[in-house]
């Protein structure tokens, strides 16, 4: 009957192609996933770097600060002294140059100081924790424990808190007003500081104070020392004493010809301090070639800029009078596990010196643990289990005192981990770190889509002006540059709603859910071609095999 009403030769009603569910063609299905950005993975304090950069690029600095300080209580400090392993793994480095994460962190830290943003302690749990040492590990554990709501008391042997941040890192890298301000913020959340208060007996102090748990964060504060053959007439100092004296404004002996022995960051700190104290001539003697020295390249560069001399591939054989005998070394042809090492050549030379400073590493002070058998010490460190607990129940350890990379950042990360472990332990549980997502490596991304955006260079103080005092060398980014730098982030592994998948699907098989809500596949129509996965700039889509 109805056929009569249709146009000529038409027998069926016209219908939409929606009736044709092309999803049945599919053998692979796309899914939205989150991958772990390499910066987040590399960060020893486990910061959600990508997260706070994303807030910073929208000028939400308070939000960025809140997110950042969930993991790291010291953005203004770490924005200066962190050796930023995040930047070394930043995928943008394979495109042009890594995002200047550290400089943006510093900017956010400054915003926190300017606006006087404060931390909040957690709801009181009634538990009391004793922390030994107000260095980065101790302060970080105190901060995180306080956020859990525990009461914390820090015992510190020195007059001021900060540990190596104060007594190891010179002012020109970390101005003291920034250090003090960020430590004071922890004090304001209710952490009690007992300064000039060295702990003599851990168990006794714990008992007297009625503490439920202990964190040992005493660091590695004793300089490694070696004596040389010969009749030396010059003072031989150690790096930590020199840096501590400088901080305390004690008179020191950095005059005339200063020779520093060592190739690490402490050696550079001493050399640069000596220049600022007016030494006539500063020479660093390193056993390694410049490229293999353990000091960070920028430290070496700035040391050289300021006029110190670095003599590499030498070792000290003897000291006679004011003459130091050096033996020439050479890099061995052989490599062990990817590292080259140096061998002696037998050739010698000598240089004159008025003072020698040894910067050849630090060891821990064992005195405190000698009578506590369950706390095991080997390889110059306290041995801990994977929840940071020592052999003695309720006693945990963090920072340089345990086996680690011995950097401020690592110590802050330990502080976070030990706080979580203690919190779990207090609740009768064992701390288990959350499982991590697969890493968003560069090959999972489509970098063509990212605009060319050269890295912003932080202003640096002229070398000539640095020598006269302890003014800060590296400057701040201004607001525009900080925002620009944050926007260079490629959001590796996490959707930033660029609409690429939604736009390029030839089958309209993606629904856009609106800002902040992401997208959804319409599996009724998705043919599984995989274009969305290939063209996702940040690698937030994966293809999975269908069960067929």
């Amino acid at each position: 009957m109805t056929i009569q009403h249709k146009p000529f030769a038409i027998t069926l009603d016209v219908g939409t192609s929606h009736l044709n569910k092309t999803g049945s063609w599919r053998s692979m299905r796309p899914v939205y996933i989150d991958r772990l950005p390499p910066c987040n993975k590399a960060c020893p304090t486990g910061e959600n770097i990508q997260g706070w950069l994303s807030l910073a690029e929208e000028k939400n600095y308070r939000g960025a600060w809140e997110l950042l300080t969930k993991d790291n209580p010291f953005p203004a400090i770490m924005g200066r002294v962190c050796y930023h392993p995040c930047e070394n793994t930043c995928n943008r480095g394979q495109l042009d140059l890594p995002v200047g994460i550290n400089s943006v962190e510093r900017f956010i830290g400054e915003q926190g100081l300017i606006n006087n943003w404060q931390f909040k302690a957690g709801e009181d749990t009634g538990k009391k924790i004793m922390v030994i040492g107000a260095g980065p590990a101790g302060l970080s554990s105190a901060y995180h424990l306080r956020r859990f709501g525990h009461q914390v008391t820090i015992y510190e042997a020195s007059e001021k808190p900060g540990g190596m941040m104060r007594y190891g890192i010179p002012k020109y890298r970390l101005p003291r007003e920034k250090l003090n301000a960020e430590i004071y913020r922890i004090q304001k959340m209710g952490v009690e500081f007992k300064l000039n208060h060295p702990v003599k007996d851990i168990l006794e102090t714990k008992k007297q104070g009625g503490f439920d748990a202990v964190v040992i964060g005493i660091g590695a504060q004793q300089s490694h020392f070696i004596s040389f053959p010969g009749q030396s007439s010059i003072p031989v100092l150690d790096a930590l004493t020199v840096l501590r004296d400088t901080e305390n404004e004690n008179p020191n002996q950095l005059i005339g010809k200063v020779v520093v022995y060592g190739g690490g960051n402490s050696a550079m700190d001493v050399a640069r301090t000596a220049i600022r104290m007016g030494a006539q001539d500063v020479t660093v003697i390193s056993r390694q070639e410049i490229d293999n020295m353990s000091a960070h390249p920028f430290e070496i560069k700035e040391t050289l800029e300021e006029g110190a001399q670095i003599i590499s591939l030498r070792s000290i054989k003897a000291i006679n009078g004011c003459e130091i005998t050096l033996e020439l070394l050479k890099t061995s042809e052989e490599h062990h596990s990817g590292h080259s090492f140096v061998v002696e050549t037998g050739e010698v030379e000598s240089i004159e010196a008025d003072v020698l400073v040894l910067a050849i590493g630090q060891v821990i002070d064992r005195q405190l643990f000698e009578n506590i058998a369950p706390i095991e010490i080997s390889n110059e460190s306290i041995q801990i289990d994977n929840t940071m607990k020592t052999g003695l129940d309720g006693v945990f350890a963090a920072g340089d005192v345990v086996p680690s990379q011995r950097s401020v950042t690592t110590a802050l990360g330990h502080g976070k981990k030990v706080a979580r472990a203690i919190d779990a332990w207090l609740n009768g549980q064992s701390y288990q770190p959350a499982p991590q997502n697969e890493v968003a490596t560069f090959d999972k991304m489509e970098p063509w889509y990212y605009s060319d955006a050269p890295r912003t260079i932080q202003p640096h103080l002229d070398a000539v002006r640095r020598k006269n005092g302890f003014a800060e060398v590296v400057g701040d980014l201004d607001q525009d540059h900080a925002k620009y730098e944050a926007r260079r982030c490629m959001s590796c592994g996490n959707c930033f709603e660029c609409d690429n998948c939604y736009g390029i699907c030839p089958d309209n098989a993606i629904t856009k859910l609106g800002p902040g809500k992401g997208f959804e596949f319409k599996y009724d129509y998705c043919k599984g071609c995989g274009m969305c996965e290939s063209e996702c700039p940040c690698g937030a889509i994966a293809m999975e095999a269908e069960d067929i």
Binding site: I10, L12, L19, N20, W448, M490, Y502, M531, S534
Partner: protein, 335 residues
């Protein structure tokens, strides 16, 4: 309603970093600068359920072009369609994937059908409804060429869009006059002394269209949506005959992975083999610059139709293809 040009102030420049205008959308861009395809309100002129192969470049190119035209004309578009993949995969009787007024013509006469629609609209005094004719490269450069040239000559008010995938893919991948030199098709097999499609002087239709001195000619590619949408919008701002050729990779005919469609479109352009430019009244007015130049081999090796070119015996053919890229780069100032 037309899109604004991108402002060039410092503030806006800063906003562009991250992906700038290279992705379909960009959450840092003001809404008004984003593409039509980034919006939830796009027309979806060709909708889900069509029967194009996985990763079809043409399905994508056609939706990009028509959605933009729909937005620019306030949804007043009539489209005519030559026989070919686009017609076959969208309208198997009685289904249709089109959500716009659409008519199927013969293989060779779509330009004339569109001219007729334009004449009818004129006779009816309708000045707001606009006409688009579309076809593949076979229906355009071979079979429909006479009708198209006539449409240009009469300067009829039609935008003709050619989706160029370099062959008669619908009927079994036969060679067309737009098939690139050296490419394998079912009628130009990689055998004998000169394997693959012959390197003739070619029939590059955008240049022929320019020779007609029609108001607007452009080439576009599915990998650069902002560029493509801008060109459609520009074309709709003219009256008279206009021609746009969109490069649309075809996984079936090219022997490429469906997931690589956009990538192929992109490196085709970045290698210089697919020049993107615009011309007005016969004069070249603009060319889209190559961002990161890639060697032609990178483009060829992703397509089985060129597999023989990369064999040592055929190094002459590879040289010829390189020379074509270099000539394009020079002629259309692509660097």
């Amino acid at each position: 309603m037309t899109k604004k040009e991108q402002p060039a102030t410092d503030e806006q420049m800063i906003k562009f970093y991250q992906t700038g205008t290279f992705t379909v959308g960009n959450r840092l861009l003001d809404e008004e600068f984003r593409t039509v395809q980034a919006t939830s309100e796009r027309s979806n002129s060709i909708d889900s359920g069509h029967r194009a192969c996985q990763g079809c470049g043409q399905a994508l190119g056609a939706r990009y072009a028509l959605d933009t035209a729909m937005r620019v004309t306030d949804n007043k578009i009539i489209a005519a369609n030559a026989t070919g993949c686009l017609e076959v995969f969208t309208t198997p009787y009685p289904e249709t994937a089109w959500s716009i007024p659409w008519i199927h013509s013969l293989f060779g006469n779509v330009a004339s059908v569109a001219s007729g629609i334009a004449a009818t609209l004129k006779a009816k005094g309708d000045t707001t409804t606009r006409v688009i004719a579309q076809g593949g490269d076979g229906g355009t450069t071979d079979i429909g060429f006479a009708c198209l040239s006539g449409m240009f000559d009469r300067n009829d008010d039609v935008l003709y869009i050619c989706y160029d995938n370099g062959g008669y893919m619908n009927t079994g991948v036969q060679r067309s006059s737009a098939t690139p030199g050296g490419a394998r098709t079912s009628t130009s097999m990689p055998v004998g002394e000169h394997p693959g499609s012959s390197f003739t002087t070619g029939k590059f239709l955008p240049a022929i269209a320019m020779a007609h001195e029609i108001p607007y000619v452009a080439t576009a590619s599915v990998h650069d949506l902002h560029d493509l949408e801008r060109k459609i919008e520009k074309a709709m701002s003219f009256r008279g005959a206009r021609y746009i050729q969109i490069n649309v990779p075809c996984p079936l005919g090219w022997g490429s992975e469906p997931a690589k469609t956009i990538k192929l479109a992109r490196i085709g352009v970045e290698s210089g083999l697919v020049p993107l430019f615009e011309a007005e009244h016969g004069d070249l007015t603009n060319s889209t610059k190559i961002r990161y130049q890639v060697p032609v081999e990178e483009y060829l090796q992703l397509q089985r139709r060129f597999a023989h070119i990369l064999k040592p015996a055929n190094v002459d053919q590879l040289e010829t293809i390189r020379a074509i890229a270099e000539k394009n780069i020079k002629r259309y100032q692509l660097l």
